[in-house]
């Protein structure tokens, strides 16, 4: 139902692409992606969501109210022009739509899959006030997949190559985005990564059933198509320090996007037992090293019949669903707050529940028990209740006295957060860091070191792919300004050593 005031202020049907009246659009139910059934998918590592058909995507696009003030764009950390890309879908110009997204977001097929839309663009969607919001994320994915399947990607034109080169450290979402933006401005860019494959957390952290590796490979190839060099097996701070990147390798600026890759442990008794993993180790073995194909691939993984994952974020969801796929008969998530406070993406929580993941809520681990051979045999926990809100605004969990429970498990995976890797901070004099180990940046992603910029989880401590991308973009813009400021003495271009 539409009120006259909404009609006159929020919508502009005359200028819109869709001839339908708002009231007609509101009658269309939200269209859903096709998914593998839960029974099928717990037996494989292929993608859970298969995306929308063209018919569904068009139907979903018709639901967009084409608001005069498209608040969804403000809800997007990188300000994707959602209104325009949906209008292009309505015109069946899907390649135009994905290129519209790419103006502000160079990784649409990734964001269409892993962004928490329900707390960003879709959270503020006008349609969502009375009905279900427009499925913006699924539409983004649809156009990106359409372009890929049709082979219609055309790399953007690159302006004339500038003399300056920039080193981007870390090939995760922050680094890749920063590299793409700088390359589009004409800079020579080398991205360094410590691992043997590019992608950072998209490669080692996010499982294939959420982000297939061919999609990730394709997106990194598209970054290379912009002229970006990706140098794997290179640990900045060890193979070369930041100072050496400037002085010996001839880079004019550095962007740090090394993420938050160091796992936290609870510090409870029993963490040294066999069968205790950090989520990072567990997911890296499976995602990067393909342990789920052991023994065809050499890296082993050990999973019990009953397993527990501690935590409630996206990493915890990824770990518990991975464990299920590796054959855990009973996989449970142990989280100290209630269902409402679980910070993971809503879609992942639902998918996990469908896959038979048991949610052990309001429960906090106390100790891990081992058998005589040093193997995990149980996780002893305490029940919690919610008290007053803490500094994060979430209600603080308070232990319930005398409420110990024992979970019989053979594997415990801790997914309680990560902190930045300390190598760069320790080897870069004058780089200011916080007590949490993050690199301090201002609103332009500038660090305390001249010519050094940073963003993503390295600066935030632990956030989302899209916020890392936002920082990468902003960092690129700041580097561009820095390299073009008055009186800036340009450094020499890449040396022979660098290009070797």
């Amino acid at each position: 139902m539409t009120t006259p005031s909404e009609n006159s202020t929020t919508f502009r049907p005359a200028a819109g692409v869709n001839p339908m009246k708002p009231s007609e659009r509101m009658k269309i139910p939200r269209q859903h992606a096709i998914e593998q059934t839960a029974d099928d998918r717990v037996g494989n590592f292929t993608e859970v969501s298969l995306g929308m058909t063209e018919e569904r995507a068009l139907r979903e696009a018709e639901r967009c109210l084409e608001c005069k003030n498209p608040v969804c764009i403000e809800g997007c950390p990188v300000s994707v022009n959602i209104l325009d890309f949906i209008r292009l879908i309505l015109k069946k110009d899907y390649v135009g739509a994905v290129n519209k997204i790419r103006e502000t977001n160079y990784l649409p097929s990734i964001c269409g899959r892993v962004c928490p839309q329900e707390s960003q663009c879709e959270a503020v969607c006008t349609m969502g006030k009375k009905h279900d919001p427009v499925s913006i994320g699924k539409l983004e994915r649809f156009v990106a997949d359409f372009e890929r399947e049709a082979g219609l990607f055309i790399p953007p034109e690159i302006p004339e190559r500038r003399p300056e080169t920039v080193a981007v450290v870390g090939s995760g979402p922050a680094g890749l985005t920063c590299a793409a933006e700088l390359a589009k401005l004409g800079y020579g860019v080398t991205v360094f990564d410590a691992l043997h494959a590019a992608g950072g957390v998209l490669r080692y952290g996010i499982p294939e059933f959420r982000l297939p590796r061919d999609i990730l490979d394709m997106e990194t190839e598209r970054i290379k198509a912009l002229g970006v060099t990706i140098q794997t097996n290179f640990v900045v701070g060890r193979t070369a320090t930041i100072d050496e990147l400037f002085d010996e390798w001839g880079f004019s600026a550095v962007f740090l996007g090394t993420g938050a890759g160091t796992p936290n442990f609870l510090g409870i008794p029993g963490e040294s037992l066999s069968g205790v993993y950090s989520a990072n180790e567990f997911l890296t073995r499976v995602n990067l090293m393909k342990a789920y194909r052991f023994p065809d691939h050499d890296t082993p993984i050990r999973i019990g019949k009953h397993i527990a994952v501690i935590g409630g974020g996206n990493t915890a969801m990824d770990a518990v669903r991975t464990a299920r796929r590796l054959g855990a008969e009973k996989a449970c998530l142990v989280y100290r707050r209630s269902r409402k406070e679980i910070p993971a993406r809503e879609e992942e929580i639902q998918h996990a529940a469908e896959e038979g993941i048991e949610f052990v809520l309001l429960t906090n681990p106390l100790r891990i028990m081992g058998d005589e051979n040093g193997w995990v045999k149980a996780l002893v926990c305490q029940r919690m209740t919610l008290g007053e809100p803490d500094s994060s605004g979430r209600r603080r969990p308070v232990p319930v006295e005398g409420s110990e429970i024992t979970l019989e498990v053979q594997t415990v995976i801790e997914a309680i957060g990560q902190k930045p890797n300390p190598i760069i901070q320790a080897t870069t004099p004058g780089l200011a860091t916080s007590s949490r180990g993050t690199v301090e940046v201002d609103e332009f992603q500038t660090t305390s070191r001249e010519g050094v910029f940073a963003g993503g989880d390295l600066a935030r401590g632990g956030a989302t792919v899209i916020l890392a991308m936002r920082d990468g973009k902003l960092g690129a813009r700041s580097i561009h300004q820095y390299l073009n400021r008055d009186g800036h003495a340009r450094r020499r271009p890449m040396t022979a050593k660098e290009s070797a």
Partner: protein
């Protein structure tokens, strides 16, 4: 990059590789290691950099065939290329200067000890070295150790070469005989390092050991190499690999290093 320049066997199951890796060669210090992935399906394994030659742009690695990935490495020859090598990783070993020092190497641990021994010699220490193995064939780098040590003692468990007994037996004798020792550096199997630490604990003789824990990435990301040192959790890759032998919980690590023992046998059968 990563091409094998030369390869020779030190024993049936131990190979010495000189590999072209100039970026690593120019930065490496005693105690550093690299992560190696031989091919697309291999594990990432940590290997100590035994030596380097900045002019030639090479690093030297010594590999003992114990699991599938290390056995595969021994099938490679000069001019073959290793898919991935990254480093140098880990903290350089803190080296004493002008002291009386004993280096203790067990089995292939002697290879990991060698760069520390040469570093210690360069720092003007008086260096006595004990190397040992189960049997004569597994005693490696004796000549190299002689070239950087003031004295070298060899032991074998079966008495097939040098003194019959363990490196720890020899160490105890040297401690008892004098002159005073300022520090001990021990690298070898975990039970050997534990025995060395126990031998030196009473007299509080400074003992540096190197932790060969399970690792995936080698850069502080997986936490698989966690070790309890004086009750605190440390990562061998970024906080070590060397720690105070008197503060390391060896038993915990010995147990956890068995995590994949049976799976490694399965992988091995597929070789």
């Amino acid at each position: 990059m990563n091409m094998i320049v030369s390869r020779r066997l030190l024993a049936d199951s131990i190979g010495r590789f000189e590999i072209y890796a100039p970026l690593i060669a120019r930065k490496r210090q005693p105690g550093n290691f690299v992560m190696v992935r031989a091919n697309e399906r291999s594990e990432r394994i940590p290997l100590t950099i035994v030596d380097s030659d900045e002019t030639r742009g090479t690093i030297t690695l010594i590999v003992q065939a114990v699991g599938k990935s290390t056995k595969h490495l021994l099938t490679l020859y000069a001019e073959d290329t290793i898919l991935d090598i990254v480093g140098p990783l880990g903290n350089p070993t803190p080296l004493t200067e002008g002291k009386s020092v004993i280096c203790v190497g067990g089995g292939v641990g002697t290879a990991e000890l060698y760069p520390i021994s040469t570093g210690l010699k360069q720092k003007g220490n008086t260096l006595r070295t004990i190397i040992g193995g189960r049997t004569r064939e597994l005693v490696i780098l004796e000549e190299e150790m002689k070239s950087c040590s003031d004295a070298v003692y060899v032991t074998t468990d079966d008495g097939s070469y040098g003194r019959r007994g363990t490196v720890v037996d020899q160490l105890k004798d040297l401690m008892a005989a004098g002159p005073a020792i300022d520090a001990v550096y021990a690298i070898g199997p975990l039970p050997m390092m534990k025995a060395v630490a126990n031998a030196t604990r009473e007299t509080r003789l400074k003992t540096c050991v190197s932790m060969n824990a399970l690792m995936v990435d080698g850069t502080g990301m997986c936490g698989g190499c966690r070790v309890s040192v004086d009750g605190a959790m440390k990562f061998a890759c970024v906080d070590g690999p060397e720690f105070d032998g008197h503060q390391v919980d060896f038993d915990e690590l010995i147990m956890r290093n068995r995590t994949y023992a049976d799976l490694e046998k399965i992988a091995d059968c597929r070789l």
